[in-house]
Symmetry: C2
Subunit: 344 residues, 2 copies
């Protein structure tokens, strides 16, 4: 069997299933970050690592080195935000073609250092090596958080509301504008090229006991919510009409004659937060959140109890509804998440 | 200017020079590991990361996936050994072609897990992603050590003796056997395919106050000793006749009509330790080391004071001598270390 037939979810599941069990509060594979408690403290280290490959995650022809240097760190900061932590240290490894211009690398570091100083992260090391084909980047980020604040994927509860901290689908539409050399949608382009990590929002939500689970939206709502439902052993309903869409995504969709909801559900790289929380705390939570951040979060659905007799495929763990009626057929067939090794 | 004209040393120097200064005992770029003190403890975390690229660091046609899975972790364990620490946790990121056989990945993990359980290291996370060209692997390793035990590259002292924990050049000769399909030198092949990390030796030497500096030999004696001399602001003399050579390397060199010293000085991937220590402690140190490990270490030279008026190129920071006479000219011209971005 080839990797593309197995898929990324199953590969990770297989890797994780063979590992020894962990102890002393350590959390391993399966969340945005690993968690290592600091001894003699009520805090823990949060550690995550992401690899970005030229031609897969970025095109140097479509993105300046300054933008890439910033983004490679931001996607990692987003993992710290997803657990409710604060970033502290990072490590950067790069495989670089030897005919790369030094000025490109200098600009890349300009972008990387900007984000380091903006979010108070120290670059402590890494590796530089030769590549035969294109650029590969790998960042390891280390942050920390109070242990009782840390929000996981695996603790969603049936009855929880599901919310996101920003409009969805903008980055995916921005990517399409970039690839089609469509410069009319600056906002969308910018959401793709220069996402922001929701660190302050993550820390705020982490302090709220009513928030049960949290992660960042990196592979797209469909994929990422599936990870929450699978690890929390539950199902979820998304109310499509409640998904927040930017004015720019709607204009883009009208012009391009595409379904904006498809971008919002399937598109990746939003890097906002998705979280679930106690329904009865809605009014209080949205009031305090809106007061602090001068913008709301968006409730898009509900966590459902899983049916133990249900043996359907895992992607049916998410129901899509529109104005109270379940949507099925061709439209939701498209609502699959991103698989790095997918056949198509 | 292209990266190949700048070189790896200068690239890292340039990256490091622009970073904010560190505080509270944190050590960043420039040693085998970064060091982060554990608060309220006399210990520190040691963190290192290495990237391995197919076609540059390994060939899947020449190495079984089990061997590769083991080696990618061992080269990282070697960085922990180099600082005198014990490994605790690791993270593995992989960019994989989608037509890779799943059985290959399973075997790779067999090798990786074997080393995890042999050295009591927990795999806590990583990233899996698609690659367009070949396999790229990145491991981040986290270990720890007592702060007062940690040995750095930057603390060699003039007058120190320089020693290594094993014969040099075997891995480089093994690589050549592998590439030339020469199966006659099992031992050399094995040194290349299955190096061992000198963790116990590193911890032993870390406890010795007479040991002033230490690192692992990964890019070759010439390159790695240059790092010690540069960061300790000193020079060094290597006594070529004292470099330990394996019986197998000598046989190989006779058969292939090559200079074994060139393999020992320039060849990389030995993954033994190089350290400097107080000359007057030699007898005591070698006695206690030999008693513990049932093998000696090998003194190969001496740390020299740097001459402040000397403005020669940095590679002249290492003098090569043979039976007391400095060797120069064509032979030592070859004694350059490995540069990942070198022109040739």
């Amino acid at each position: 069997m080839k990797l593309k037939d197995l898929g990324e979810f199953n590969l990770i599941r297989q890797i994780a299933s063979d590992l020894p069990s962990l102890k002393e509060g350590i959390v391993g594979i399966g969340d945005d970050c690993a968690v290592i408690p600091k001894s003699g403290s009520d805090e823990a280290w949060l550690i995550s690592t992401d690899m970005l490959v030229e031609g897969v995650h970025f095109l140097t022809s479509k993105m300046s080195p300054v933008q890439l240097g910033a983004k490679v760190l931001i996607v990692n900061l987003s993992d710290i935000a997803a657990m409710g932590g604060s970033p502290r240290f990072c490590f950067l490894s790069m495989a670089l073609p030897s005919d790369l211009e030094v000025s490109w690398i200098e600009d890349f570091f300009k972008g990387f250092r900007n984000i380091c100083s903006l979010y108070d992260v120290l670059l402590l090391g890494g590796d530089t090596t030769h590549s035969l084909n294109g650029i590969t980047l790998s960042v390891t980020i280390i942050g920390d958080a109070k242990i009782t604040d840390i929000k996981k994927r695996s603790t969603a509860m049936p009855g929880d509301l599901i919310a996101v901290t920003a409009t969805l689908g903008d980055s995916a539409a921005g990517l399409e504008c970039l690839l089609k050399k469509n410069p009319s949608f600056d906002y969308l382009l910018n959401q793709h090229l220069a996402p922001k990590p929701y660190l302050a929002e993550g820390r705020f939500l982490a302090k709220e006991q009513s928030v049960h689970s949290m992660m960042d939206v990196s592979d797209g709502l469909a994929s990422d919510l599936l990870r929450i439902t699978e690890s929390s052993n539950c199902k979820a309903r998304i109310d499509l009409e409640k998904i927040p869409l930017s004015r720019e995504l709607i204009l883009f969709s009208e012009k391009e004659k595409v379904d904006p909801i498809e971008y919002a559900v399937c598109g990746g790289e939003d890097y906002c937060l998705i979280f679930t929380f106690e329904k009865r705390q809605l009014a209080e939570l949205i009031a305090s959140y809106s007061e602090k951040f001068r913008k709301p979060f968006y409730v898009i659905g509900e966590v459902l109890a899983s049916d133990p007799t249900d043996t359907t495929m895992s992607r049916l763990k998410i129901l899509y509804a529109e104005h109270g009626r379940v949507v099925s057929g061709e439209r939701t067939e498209k609502f699959r998440g991103y698989d790095h090794f997918a056949k198509n």
